[in-house]
């Protein structure tokens, strides 16, 4: 135990409050906050250096007290507060628990009789007892506005140092005071020794001079008296001198005659004895005072001697003795005086410095308290230090710091909120994506979706238009986060609503646009690609609302086509209501075996590597061309790998969505199989026509048409006769050639361009002039050229330009218009009068 602990121990028995390090917590009186309280108590106990048992006991008592406050003082009502104030001293931990609820009669609570509890099966009311058991002192005070329960718990070891200040558990002011005290002591001590030495030398010299002067005076006066033998006068002189201030110090004063007899002596008992010259004292020779050191029976002394003269005649000697003891008395007095002075100076300066240091260090302690409060999580701490000195600056910096931390915490919370919102958005988005791949006869479908780190706006979906017709939509919402997800939800609902039974892709998109546009925020839009696969009729129609082109890979010729029907993005507030539908084109395509369609979002082509290069369309086309044998699922997997390899660790910026569709067998075969199965159901299996039609989901009218064909030509009659549907798009390399030619010769007509290309390649490769015209028109460059292949920038100017060009060049819309295609039920659009070659229908 060190001095401080000892002092603290002593003071703890005095009716004095020891100095404490204080901690404070205020919580709502709710059960859930008991955990917060426990956590706080744990930390305070750690700070106090409690043993685990002490911590456990203190926690238990405070927990009991707070539980009681919640149950009884507030009766379980919400809105109450509990304030905890804990103070650590050197010897104990004091906890004050304040509540503002109903007080209770602390005195009336008696220790429980456990056997009685056992007898009656009681279980409550043990809390207070427990508190009293584990605490050393418990006080309860009820005030008008609050109740205080004060608990004391002695600590077995002193708390650790407050902060990591070097030098143990002494406070800064104590350390400063101790240091300065040591310095002061050293200074005063050396000053003391110096002064004592000097002062003593001075006193001794003074003394010597005094005695010499005195003796000289006595000698000059006594000379004549000796000559006159006036003994009485001599005796009087000696008395006078020894009684005088200066003479008081003399141990003896006497005069002797030349014959060795005392003429007078301060010591009367010696007067009639003969003078014995002590060893070391020689007879005086010349005039003047001489000093001799001698040993007397009373210790060492100095004998001062002077001869006596009368009229030039030596008549005797006068001797005066100054003992060392009396000298020491003199020097001791001097020493004592200096000692008192020095002690006084030391004490006053140490006290003064201590007080000064307290004054100087006070602001530092305030700062310390502030930092401690902050370390316990109270960021509202403000340190009030008025001074303009370094402490004032430090306090100001601290206050700035806490408010900055508070701000950044608010910022952090905001960030967390945004992150949570993003998470919600992502969750919404993920629930929107289809869970499983559809199985549709004759087609293979593969799809991949990879979300960017932040929520991107991609969305894709599959749904059955009718039992044999599948709709696939791929969309990219311009906005991200929750608003983007909300739009996506709207689009998805609208798509699912409108897709059912409607076999015209453009019509569905137009209706979806009608649904959502008014609800979408200005500036937000959605690009969509919608494709409808009719498995029974082996026909595919599709429309695009400003989306990236669909890629068609023709297995037979190994050519790649970009299919990009016209259309505004969904959600743009167009000046005229029907502008959207008027601007949209519906295209059709029939696939042959090993053809593949790839629908994608710009996340693919704009995937970036660390060098900021984009993946681009070229790489995509290359990959398609190099892998004709892959199934769609394998292909999208391959594409994923290729993109991963390309980006190589660069962060994904946008969602990536790819849907690939591949024809598994010849369309005619599928149709033939279907018709054959239908006929067989009736002819071989003996089903009624109605039952067979129900099973195959067609109308009896259709059955009878097939039946007629079957009856007329047998099995051969069931084979579809219609011509193959041409692709209404130039092959991709020819597109480039057309663009080049149109650039070089803006005066060329589409036919001339077609002829030129025909000349350059084999005649069989000569493009259809109509396609060239359509292509140039679509590019918006019958006169100027636009080689920019970036779909974003291609899309943007079109939105502005399209209404004008449409009116100027487009043929009058087909009467089919909105209701458009005989989508309803079993009617097969291919065999409708719309005919074979016409694939683009402006709806």
């Amino acid at each position: 135990m060190n001095l401080f602990q000892l002092l603290a121990r002593i003071t703890s028995h005095l009716p004095l409050e020891p100095k404490r390090r204080n901690y404070r917590l205020e919580v709502e009186a709710k059960d859930i906050e008991l955990l917060t309280i426990k956590d706080f108590v744990q930390r305070v106990c750690d700070a106090a250096g409690c043993t685990s048992k002490e911590t456990s006991n203190i926690k238990l008592a405070i927990d009991e007290a707070c539980s009681n406050i919640i149950r009884h003082a507030y009766k379980g009502k919400e809105g109450g507060k509990i304030t905890l104030e804990m103070g650590i001293s050197f010897t104990d931990l004091k906890t004050k628990i304040i509540d503002y609820g109903t007080p209770f009669d602390f005195q009336s609570i008696k220790d429980p009789d456990l056997n009685h509890y056992v007898d009656i099966g009681r279980k409550g009311g043990l809390g207070i007892w427990l508190i009293k058991k584990v605490m050393n002192k418990v006080q309860y005070k009820a005030y008008a506005d609050r109740n205080e329960l004060i608990l004391y718990r002695r600590l077995s070891k002193a708390p650790p140092v407050e902060l990591g200040l070097k030098g143990g558990r002494y406070s800064l002011s104590t350390k400063f005071s101790l240091g300065s005290a040591a310095l002061i002591l050293l200074l005063t001590l050396s000053a003391y020794f110096y002064l004592v030495n000097r002062q003593q030398t001075f006193v001794l010299r003074q003394q010597r001079e005094d005695v010499t002067t005195l003796l000289t005076a006595v000698a000059s006066e006594a000379g004549s008296q000796v000559a006159l033998k006036n003994d009485l006068e001599l005796d009087r002189l000696i008395r006078q001198v020894t009684k005088s201030d200066r003479g008081k110090i003399l141990s003896y004063l006497f005069m002797v005659g030349p014959e060795g007899k005392y003429l007078a002596n301060s010591d009367l008992t010696e007067l009639f004895k003969p003078y014995v010259r002590p060893p070391g004292v020689e007879p005086c020779r010349g005039p003047g005072v001489q000093a001799f050191r001698i040993q007397s029976p009373h210790g060492p002394l100095t004998d001062y001697a002077s001869p006596l003269y009368f009229q030039g005649q030596r008549v005797g000697e006068v001797h005066a003795g100054v003992s060392d003891a009396s000298l020491r008395q003199l020097t001791d007095r001097v020493q004592n005086d200096i000692q008192r002075l020095m002690v006084g100076i030391a004490l006053i300066s140490i006290l003064g410095l201590y007080l000064l240091s307290r004054i100087f260090i006070k602001p530092f302690q305030k700062i310390l308290e502030g930092v401690q409060a902050m370390s316990l999580g109270d960021l509202n701490t403000k340190i009030e230090v008025d001074s303009q000195d370094e402490f004032g600056q430090l306090a100001k910096i601290f206050n700035d710091m806490t408010s900055k931390i508070q701000e950044s915490q608010v910022g952090l919370m905001e960030q967390e909120r945004i992150q949570k919102e993003m998470q919600v958005a992502q969750e919404i988005q993920h629930t929107l994506l289809p869970a499983e791949f559809p199985q549709i006869e004759g087609y293979e479908i593969g799809a991949t979706y990879r979300a960017a780190k932040e929520v991107g706006g991609d969305y894709y979906d599959f749904f059955w238009v009718d039992p044999t017709t599948l709709g696939i939509v791929v969309a990219d919402v311009s906005g991200k986060g929750v608003p983007g997800s909300m739009v996506m939800t709207m689009i998805r609902t609208a798509m699912r609503l409108e897709a059912r039974g409607n076999k015209s892709a453009s019509d569905v998109l137009a209706k979806v646009n009608q649904h959502v546009t008014s609800d979408m925020k200005r500036g937000m839009f959605v690009t969509m690609f919608y494709i409808i696969l009719d498995s029974r009729n082996r026909s595919i129609n599709f429309a695009s609302a400003g989306h990236n082109p669909m890629i068609l890979y023709r297995g037979k010729t190994r050519e790649v086509y970009f299919l990009k029907p016209k259309g505004f993005p969904v959600g743009i507030d167009l000046p005229e209501e029907d502008m959207f539908i008027k601007n949209m084109t519906l295209q059709r395509v029939s696939l042959e075996k090993n053809d593949m369609l790839v629908i994608y979002t710009d996340g693919i082509t704009e995937a970036m590597n660390l060098q900021k290069e984009q993946f681009g369309e070229e790489r995509l086309i290359q990959l398609i061309k190099e892998n004709p044998e892959l199934t769609p699922a394998e292909f999208v997997e391959k594409l994923n790998e290729a993109i991963a390899q390309f980006t190589r660790g660069a962060e994904q910026h946008d969602d990536i969505t790819v849907v690939a569709i591949k024809e598994k067998m010849k369309a005619e075969q599928v149709q033939f199989k279907f018709r054959k199965k239908l006929i067989d159901l009736v002819e071989k299996k003996g089903l009624t026509v109605a039952a067979a039609c129900r099973q195959m989901n067609i109308s009896p009218k259709t059955y009878y048409r097939y039946k007629k064909l079957f009856d007329e030509k047998g099995k051969e009659g069931l084979k579809p006769t219609r011509a193959k549907r041409e692709i209404q798009e130039l092959p991709q390399p020819q597109q480039q050639a057309v663009l080049d030619l149109a650039g070089e010769h803006p005066e060329y007509s589409p036919r001339q361009i077609a002829d030129e290309i025909g000349k350059m390649a084999a005649p069989s490769q000569k493009p259809d002039p109509r396609l060239v015209l359509a292509f140039l028109k679509r590019k918006g460059l019958l006169a100027s050229q636009d080689k920019d292949r970036n779909p974003e920038s291609r899309r943007a100017p079109k939105v502005r330009r399209a209404p004008k060009t449409r009116k100027a060049r487009e043929a009058p819309p087909a009467p089919a218009s909105q209701e458009g295609h005989p989508a309803a039920g079993e009617n097969e659009p291919q065999e409708s009068p719309a005919g074979n070659a016409v694939d683009s229908v402006s709806s």
Partner: protein, 120 residues
């Protein structure tokens, strides 16, 4: 909130002894949950109970109350309730509250099964 879990099982050798292995802490917030489980065991007429407190770091008065409130009923049914594996902190309170005069405690389940249910 998973602040308490109570695992109830039969002792593999002595089928009439029921083990309640408690994990977490028992205070005012978790005591009702523990009491529910405890009473359900009594409801099944199982009265030889070993409460394993090895994974309990803290028991407040609400918890202790539960143990003694039912002890008479348990003993009337010729059963008993013994506590095992208390850690030093819990054990200290157990003794401070003089519960050791009412309930038996053992260092582990084996000792409790061996000696806990002998006739006094």
């Amino acid at each position: 909130m998973e602040n308490i879990t109570v695992n109830i099982s039969e002792h593999p050798q002595n089928r009439d002894i029921t083990l309640l292995a408690v994990k977490g802490f028992i205070d005012t917030t978790t005591a009702p949950e523990f009491e529910k489980k405890f009473l359900s065991v009594l409801g099944e007429k199982k009265f030889k109970l070993v409460v394993d407190l090895k994974d309990v770091n803290y028991i407040s008065s609400a918890g202790w109350g539960i143990f003694i409130s039912e002890i008479k009923r348990i003993r009337n049914q010729k059963g008993d309730l013994v506590l095992v594996g208390m850690n030093p902190e819990v054990s200290e309170v157990f003794e401070l509250l003089e519960f050791n005069t009412i309930l038996k405690s053992f260092p582990n389940v084996e000792a409790a099964v061996k000696k806990g249910f002998e006739k006094p």
